[in-house]
């Protein structure tokens, strides 16, 4: 249980703690890594030479993300009625699917819950529980995709020393999540929806562009020139809501301590590097760890890991098979 509370606390904004206790297995591996006289350089070079090429998970993810957003668009434009509505609420083959954060805002603002809303939200909660909670962010959210491109630009400009990344206290997202909840309750209006780039982009794709896209452009400029992935990392309450959904999710990125060279490439590509604190030398409490609730399961670390220490995994699946 402490594993889950740690992952929850880290998601809410606390910095990851150094583990107080190691399992015997982890302790053994940590010790071996310290004392064993092995030519690490040679092993690392070997691993790098033989690592999988390309970014298969990114390609899968982008295809899925673009595919699902296109499905919304074609369902409306060609009236094929597979996925109607927008990301805030939709019908998949007639079944209600309602975005958990939007539903939360509506429930707080309206203070009345109708059955369809409950069914749709419940379906999405169950679905994303199995698929990993914040998986929504990296596999569905259209803003995530454009933010990834903005991030590429930011990293390039940062290398050229044109911009620097300004970090914020991660706890601010939790505070904002609470504030937006209270605001919805007090004002009786879904306040966050007015600036949600997820909703704005989704509707712009389906119903045509509007002036609200200017706000999305501003956010992207903020991420490019001021703070890397600023919106997703420090503000977006949707991410936190889905994070809650996925705390106990079986779908995870699994970390295998014994395979890791502690080079830290994964942390450089990660949107939420605090979930990868465990890959630092001497930080994994167990021989097998998972990345925690705030992980968006985007698979960037899986793609970049030269030694196969980070893998997608479904908890308990090997027992079933």
């Amino acid at each position: 249980m402490s594993k889950y509370s740690e992952s929850l606390m880290v998601m809410l904004g606390r910095e990851p703690k150094k583990p107080q206790q190691f399992t015997p297995a982890a302790d053994h591996i940590h010790t071996l890594k310290r004392v064993e006289k092995v030519d690490w350089e040679e092993l690392k070079t070997h691993a790098r030479a033989h690592r999988a090429q390309g970014q298969p998970w990114r390609n899968r993810r982008w295809s899925f993300l673009i595919g699902i957003n296109l499905l919304f668009v074609v369902s409306y434009w060609f009236d094929i009625q597979i996925l109607e509505g927008a990301l805030t609420a939709s019908r998949l083959l007639g079944f209600h699917m309602i975005d958990v954060n939007s539903a939360l805002q509506v429930m707080l603002a309206h203070k009345h819950i109708i059955v369809n809303l409950l069914i749709g939200t419940g379906t999405v909660v169950v679905l994303w529980f199995f698929f990993g909670g914040r998986t929504f962010c990296s596999w569905v959210c259209p803003y995530h995709l454009v933010a990834e491109w903005a991030e590429k630009l930011h990293v390039y400009l940062a290398q050229k020393k044109i911009v620097t990344d300004h970090t914020f206290n991660r706890g601010v997202r939790t505070v904002l999540w609470l504030i937006f909840g209270v605001l919805a309750w007090v004002t009786g209006y879904t306040v966050f929806e007015t600036l949600s780039p997820t909703g704005i982009l989704s509707r712009a794709l389906i119903y045509g562009p509007g002036l609200a896209l200017g706000w999305v452009a501003l956010l992207l400029a903020f991420e490019i020139f001021y703070s890397r992935r600023g919106w997703c990392r420090y503000v977006c309450p949707i991410g936190l809501t889905y994070g809650f959904v996925g705390v106990f999710s079986p779908l995870r990125v699994k970390y295998d301590l014994s395979k890791c060279f502690h080079e830290g490439d994964c942390r450089k590509v990660c949107e939420v590097p605090h979930v990868l604190e465990i890959v630092k030398k001497g930080r994994a409490a167990d021989a097998i760890m998972d990345t925690g609730a705030d992980c968006t399961r985007c698979g960037a670390c899986v793609d970049v890991c030269p030694s196969g220490a980070l893998r997608f995994d479904i908890k308990g699946l090997h027992k079933l098979l």
Partner: protein, 280 residues
């Protein structure tokens, strides 16, 4: 001469502490901006600076705004594309559906008020929960009878409240009152608005411009009104002269068809959003 070591003029600046402080201030500013911007945008919305027509079955404005999830499913099912989603311009009502009757009115050509059926949150509802406000004059005396299905077993629209009320706001523009007729398309050859005409095709709305008229006296608002008994042309005596004038009656639900078809420019008759019936 003092033997004391000279004190540094500035206490040693701890770079880490300084960065921490900067970060804290930055974070504070970020939070302030993220909360401030939507609140700023909320003002015109909450104050109702601009009154927008909502789709049929909409809850009372405040309840409607709080319960709408901004998914646009109502937009998708409307056969005449009467429903549009609001943008940033109108007090940040981003994604909230509205109807601009003059451009494209709701003519109930779906028969079943499908937008209500599509709404996942009950922002548009057939049956309002008891604790929600029904303003006096908003409730309809009877379920409105849809002329298009007057002869079917269930001729009514499942609506209990009006979304607005038609009103002859520019009587001086009204063709009927001037004794004028109408020849050709109601709104000219450029107008893109569509309507369902029972005598043309029950299920396929056609552009208004493809349905020309040739009338001695214009009565388009009466002729096209989809609701039974909502409007009629009456003879009145004004300044000693007998004239014909459109009169709105209690069954009017505020669909906006009369506003769309009115050949006068600007329209003589318009639908006022959320206006209630105060008696004839």
């Amino acid at each position: 001469m003092s033997t004391e070591k000279p004190q540094p003029t500035h206490p040693l600046i701890n770079k880490r502490k300084l960065e921490d402080r900067r970060r804290f201030l930055r974070t504070l500013f970020l939070a302030g901006t993220a909360v401030g911007i939507p609140l700023l945008g909320l003002t015109p919305m909450a104050r109702g600076w601009e009154s927008r027509m909502r789709p049929p079955g909409a809850l009372d404005e405040k309840d409607f705004l709080s319960s709408c999830i901004k998914c646009g499913q109502c937009v998708q099912v409307c056969p005449v594309s009467a429903i549009k989603l609001d943008d940033i311009g109108h007090g940040f009502g981003i994604g909230v559906p509205y109807i601009d009757s003059r451009t494209q009115a709701c003519d109930f050509s779906c028969d079943a008020v499908q937008c209500i059926l599509a709404c996942p949150t009950g922002a548009l509802a057939y049956e309002k929960p008891d604790f929600l406000l029904v303003r006096p004059g908003a409730a309809l005396a009877n379920k409105p009878i849809l002329l298009a299905k007057e002869k079917s077993a269930e001729p009514t629209l499942n609506l209990k409240e009006r979304t607005g009320l038609a009103k002859l706001v520019r009587p001086e523009k009204c063709l009927a009152r001037q004794g004028k007729g109408i020849k050709g398309a109601a709104r000219g050859p450029e107008f893109k608005g569509r309507m369902r005409f029972m005598e043309v095709d029950r299920w396929k709305p056609i552009p208004l411009r493809d349905h020309p008229y040739d009338l001695e006296l214009c009565d388009l608002c009466v002729r096209t009104c989809p609701i039974k008994g909502a409007i009629s042309l009456e003879t009145v005596v004004e300044n000693g002269v007998k004239i014909r004038t459109p009169v709105v009656h209690e069954p009017c639900v505020g669909c906006g068809v009369c506003e769309m078809v009115c050949p006068a420019e600007p329209a003589a008759i318009v639908v006022e959003a959320r206006k209630t019936w105060e008696g004839a």
